[in-house]
Amino acid sequence: MSLNSAKAPTGLRTATGDLHLRSVTKRFGDFVAVDDLTLDVPRGSFFALLGPSGCGKTTTLRMVAGLEQPTAGSILIGDTDLTGSRPYQRPVNTVFQSYALFPHLSVRDNVAFGPKRRGEADAAAQADEALKLVQMGHLAGRRPPQLSGGQQQRVAVARALVNRPEVLLLDEPLGALDLKLRREMQVELKRIQTSVGLTFIHVTHDQEEAMTMADTVAVMNNGRIEQQGAPSALYDLPRTQFVARFLGQANMFDAPIVGADGDMLFVENQGRRFGVPKKRSALTQGVVSYGVRPEKLRLAETEPTELKPGECVVGPGRVTDVSFTGVSTQYIVEVPGFPPASVFEQNLDVEPIDTHVGDQVWLRWNQGHAFAVAPAPAAGATP
């Protein structure tokens, strides 16, 4: 409390710049929720923390908000160290998962709450402006319990935005919405972020949501960041088993590296050799997990005799499942000696499904799309 009594009457710290987490660790008893995490989020970016439940992403968010204090490490905005300061002293606002709107206040008073606490004279006017931004101006007089989930979500966003925080934190804000509304809000949030230019940190377990909205995605697992980068880069070139499987689907098998040729490495399984570019392999020797994304695989109903340059082939295998999803069809193909492979084919033809369960097929792909990561540590850990 006495930390900042010399500054603004509310103790609010002014800080501006990129958000930095320096070796942040959070333990709850014996459980390490966040493990020596270092992270830099550039000012004005839309940053997604993606991971399964229990991976520490929400704990990370709460530490940035000040709702939890790190066991070790520090949190800075620009050059200002915010570690140890209280939530109300930070230029950071949160959109809570359950929205956490004040049920006893009108929508307008909910949004004006922050500006009022900061002693702004025109709190109500600011609230109305923020509500307009999220298209909720017409419901300013209502109370939160009278609103639908989507409307409450918009109010929660306005309530945080109105303060123009240095960093706006979104804790799975779209989790409670139905699919259609969620898609709308994704676009909407992205639009708002672009128009206000604030740093958004979005926590989610929905990989599609993270990839759609964020400039940078950090994939978290067991309290650590496995990999971080632009969504397309992460998807195209995962660097760990976990990222390959969590972000989209991946067909993977473990095989030893048996040779190199120029900038290609080769692995061998069932007497066949498969290439992967050296720069797309996490290891240069030993056993790797060799992976190809499902949409990079092509089905062939007869054994391909002439391969395009850089292509490789495996087969014959049998189609064990065909599921039609509209724009594409997913096939599951089992080739002896390999895990079942998933293949996406776009439905470009008039008669989309020309391959059926039980058909014999070969799989081919361009080796340039392949990637190799370290194999899963424990036996049987691969799903």
């Binding site: 709702l67 109300y88 809570f96 956490a100 004040f102 006893h104 922050g114 606490r117």
Partner: protein, 308 residues
Amino acid sequence: MTALATATQHATNSAGATGDDDAHVVGSRRLTPYLLLIPGLAWLVLFFVVPMVQLAVVSLEHKFPGYPGYYYLDLNVANFAGALSEFWPHFLRSFLFAGIATVLAFLLGYPLAYAMAFKAGRWRNVMMICVVAPFFTSFILRTIAWRQILADEGPIAGSLNALHLLPGGHITETWVAVVAGLTYNFLPFMTLPIYSSLERVDPKVIEAGGDLYANGLTTFATVTLPMSLPGVLAGTLMTFIPAAGDYVNAELLGSDISTKMVGNVIESQFFKVPGGYPTAAALSFTLMAIILVMLFAYTRKFGTENLL
């Protein structure tokens, strides 16, 4: 269970049967709520409406001249006027004591309820049992126990007297003892409604207050307290109303003169003063009427409109 099963069976059978059967089922369903009301209504009529009418009748009766203890039916409004002009200090004292006890119970009960709702963790149930446990002993016995605690040779008065900090030398026989007893006896009625209100408050909403630049105190004043007002309203009413009508605490802990409350007057008019029945009844009615008016004003001011 059997009856329910039979009814379901009947409903299932009638689905495919004639229209007559369907009409019968719908008819009995429509009657069911009223049938369920009968025991409650009967109870209310027998034990509330009838005694109230009886009380109203008695409060307007006239003494039979020359025959103490005999009355005749009349519309003797003078009973009310007489009761009020003679016993208005007791009314005033009742509401004053009840008011102080309510404020004290709130000041003690709110932090207790808050701790139970937010801070107690696995001790929550233990605390809950401690709050409710006094109900397992008789109200009278507990009040007599308080007489021992507050007695001149007891731990509190004894220590204060040893330090010469107690003007007058007594706690019992003073208003302090009566208010302390009232506060103690009605504390659970204050604590439990507030607790149930606070327990429904989503901790995330309180966190949101902190996230939106309100420090602990401001968050409490602008978020937690307003959200618990329904419980505060219920708790204050459940403390004030019975405390205002109470006579046990004043009887057992107070003095014979200076701490008598209106309940004691009613009790003595009824049991001790010959021919006091109409006065006791008039006092009871007046007390009820004043409390109703206060209740109405109070709920209008802090009413349910702004509450959840």
